[in-house]
């Protein structure tokens, strides 16, 4: 790692800590009340879902429409694990229960991702979209028909252990992992598949392996996002994870820019706040929401950030550069 990257990581990490501290401060003095806090938690969960889908759709270039299926698998696994732990090892602190449940949820979702990815990723483009859509629905129908998930009645009694603090740091961790992954050797292999699969194979990139890997990681993080959702809302039913949920996540990715993690973050913030902010328009709320989406897509078809990333360092650099140029000009 060269000096510049380390510096960039440090600046951004510092910015994240400052944001966290600022939010905690505002919460303590009551400016961010629990209403805003609830919205922030949903934003963070949407960031996890969108960022993980971005790996599959934006970086790997595989259009998938079944992300809600992985979210569902993770949510149900995490919820039932937590219920079991709570019943047998009730003395464990909440954070431990949450972490164990999420890790198991992540692993199971990854396995589901591999199982679906190996046959599905032989297909490309539209065909893959259709087959992932099908698999997403299959997961939902299975949940509907097995007993321990509560079927259509839903699963109740899930420990409510997701809090702003732990969701925030888990989101930071997941985005960090995804960022470093996409900028690593494996990440470049993944991007090369998006750019030209035939050329990538010709230069020796094992396309199937990297496709399945990217898909599994995306599925795994979606499962963790689903787990956090389950532990926040404390009630699950299969209809939560229908096709429309997959589309909602995809909309965040497309709006933010396919291939830009920070774009997904910004889009997740905008699209989660928007329906709440439009509440005062009552019945016209969804009309306005759709209208704004259309406008944004017309003026920014590549998404808010395209494929570029936002970094606090670039702001710092620009500021520094401007200062230097001013000094230079004054000298001249």
């Amino acid at each position: 790692m060269n000096k510049n990257t380390i510096k960039s990581y440090l600046v951004n990490f510092l910015a994240v800590i400052i944001i966290f501290a600022l939010m905690k401060l505002l919460m303590n003095i009551g400016i961010i009340n629990r209403y805003y806090q609830g919205i922030i938690v949903f934003i963070l969960i949407n960031i996890i879902l969108a960022a993980s889908l971005n790996l599959a759709t934006g970086f790997l270039g595989q259009l998938t429409l079944g992300h809600a299926g992985f979210m569902a698998a993770g949510a149900y696994v995490s919820a039932s694990t937590a219920i079991m732990i709570k019943a047998n090892f009730g003395w464990l602190p909440n954070i431990a229960i949450l972490l164990i449940s999420l890790i198991i949820a992540g692993i199971i979702s990854a396995i589901v991702g591999v199982a679906i990815g190996i046959p599905a990723l032989r297909l490309r483009g539209d065909y893959l979209a259709i087959i992932t859509l099908g698999f997403g629905e299959v997961i939902r129908v299975i949940i509907n028909n097995i007993r321990f998930t509560g079927g259509a009645q839903g699963l109740t009694g899930i420990p409510r252990i997701s809090t702003f603090d732990n969701v925030f740091w888990i989101t930071v961790l997941i985005v960090f992992i995804l960022y470093t992954l996409t900028h690593s050797r494996q990440g470049r292999a993944i991007v090369s598949i998006r750019e030209d699969e035939v050329a990538a194979e010709a230069v020796g990139v094992k396309t199937t392996r990297f496709k399945v890997m990217g898909f599994a990681i995306a599925a795994s993080f979606a499962g963790i996002g689903g787990g956090l959702y389950a532990h926040y809302i404390a009630f699950l039913d299969p209809n939560t994870f229908n096709f429309m949920r997959s589309v909602e996540i995809l909309v965040i990715v497309v709006l933010g820019g396919m291939g830009s993690l920070t774009g997904s973050i910004i889009a997740a913030i905008v699209l989660t706040i928007l329906p709440e902010a439009l509440r005062s328009f009552a019945d016209y709320r969804l009309l306005l929401y759709s209208f704004l989406l259309i406008i944004m897509m017309i003026f920014r078809p590549a998404g808010l950030l395209g494929t570029s990333e936002f970094s606090w360092k670039s702001i710092y650099d620009r500021y520094k550069y401007r200062k230097e140029s001013i000094i230079k000009r004054e000298k001249a």
Binding site: Y35, G151, I233, P275, A277, D283, L286, R300
Partner: protein, 378 residues
């Protein structure tokens, strides 16, 4: 470069809307009593939330016209949830923090109510759901009450009605496996009916199915006297049409999801029975007053959800009136003492906050609701 500037402007506009909307939140006043209502008011299920809202608004209007509660005006603040759990949680948080509601009449759907449940318990918010029928809604929650009966209770009552009033020995059940309401009713009906009679078929379908001829023929082979169809009007209408088309001789029975079926499916629904919260043909002054006032206000006949929203608002405001303060514990204590006649029947609550009331069984005759009997499963 130009498009970048434009996108910056767009983002700025968005942020501005957010900030402005955040500022518009009301302050906590003592002059008005704010009651929250949550339900789907847009989207596929908008009719349900809208009915509850209109019922609640009507109740508040009547109470305000009569001088309010303790001299204070009542204000209903209704938020849309689209039937989505995330939105329902946000709406609840907003009602509590931004609007400062005293009590909640909601939510409309079971899923919404269950996702608010844990938060509301933490807040000790007096909560009375008009329409959430899932059995777990009031479980281990001293602050949560409901105005309607549960799915299991309704299903069991339908079974009792089939056995005792219709004298049926054999029954078939056809239900929607993807819908918690439908499944809840189906399970209860099967369990209750099989204690005395025989359940010949217990068949499921999914929400998107539209052709039931095959399964109906299969059911007809067992020759049941009644067929239990727990679902909503749109689906039941289709099934009934196909039962008529095949010329099958069995009496259809259904739950409160059939409320209003005599309007759209008068000919195929002729002779069917369904359980409901109240009957428009009920001659009590309370019911007829409600129907005429509702008609005057909104220009349509009220459905069962509107009646429940209306009742729930009355129950809640009367409890607040008796409590004489906005203290949650006092309101909850008074809610549990409710013992009065309402549009949907005489209501008292058991220790879990479940209403103890009888169910109106309605027969569709000549395109009209006819009240057959008031039954209870016990």
């Amino acid at each position: 470069m130009k498009s970048r500037k434009l996108s910056l402007v767009l983002v700025a506009v968005l942020i501005l809307t957010v900030v402005l909307a955040g500022c518009s939140g009301g302050s906590k006043g003592t002059e008005v009593i704010k009651i929250g209502v949550i339900g789907p008011m847009t989207g596929d299920n908008s009719m349900y939330g809208t009915s509850v809202r209109e019922g609640a608004m009507l109740a508040a209007k009547e109470i305000n016209a009569a001088g309010g509660v303790d001299g204070k005006k009542v204000e209903i603040i209704a938020y849309d949830s689209k039937g989505d759990k995330t939105e329902a949680v946000n709406a609840y948080n907003r009602l509590r923090d931004q609007d400062g509601i005293v009590a909640l009449v909601g939510a409309t759907f079971s899923g919404e109510t269950l996702s608010i449940k844990e938060i509301a318990i933490g807040d000790n918010m007096p909560m009375l759901t008009p329409t959430a029928t899932h059995k777990d809604v009031t479980l281990n929650a001293s602050n949560i009450f409901r105005a309607c009966y549960t799915d299991p209770y309704q299903g069991a009552t339908a079974a009792v009605f089939a056995m005792e009033n219709l004298g049926a020995k054999k029954a078939a059940v056809l239900y929607n496996i993807e819908d918690p309401y439908s499944e809840g009713l189906a399970i209860a009906f099967r369990d209750k009916f099989s204690s005395v009679g025989t359940v010949t078929n217990y068949e499921g379908y999914t929400a998107k199915d539209a052709d039931f001829r095959a399964v109906l023929t299969k059911i007809a082979a067992q020759d049941p006297e009644v067929i239990f169809l727990p679902d909503y009007i749109a689906k039941i209408g289709v099934i009934l049409s196909q039962i008529r088309e095949l010329g099958l001789d069995m009496i259809p029975i259904s739950g409160d999801g059939s409320d209003g079926i005599e309007v759209d499916y008068a000919d195929v629904a002729e002779g069917m029975y369904y359980a409901n919260h109240y009957s428009k043909s009920d001659e009590s002054k309370l019911v007829q007053n409600f129907i005429s006032n509702y008609d005057k206000e909104y220009g349509v006949q009220p459905n069962a959800l509107a009646a429940l929203g209306y009742d729930a608002t009355y129950i809640m405001l009367q409890a607040i009136d008796r409590a004489g303060s906005f203290d949650s514990d006092k309101i909850i204590a008074e809610l549990s003492k409710t013992d009065e006649d309402y549009v949907t029947g005489h209501i008292t609550f058991d220790k879990n906050g479940e209403p103890l009331k009888s169910i109106s069984v309605i027969k569709v005759a000549g395109g009209k609701q006819v009240l057959v009997d008031k039954v209870s499963a016990e």
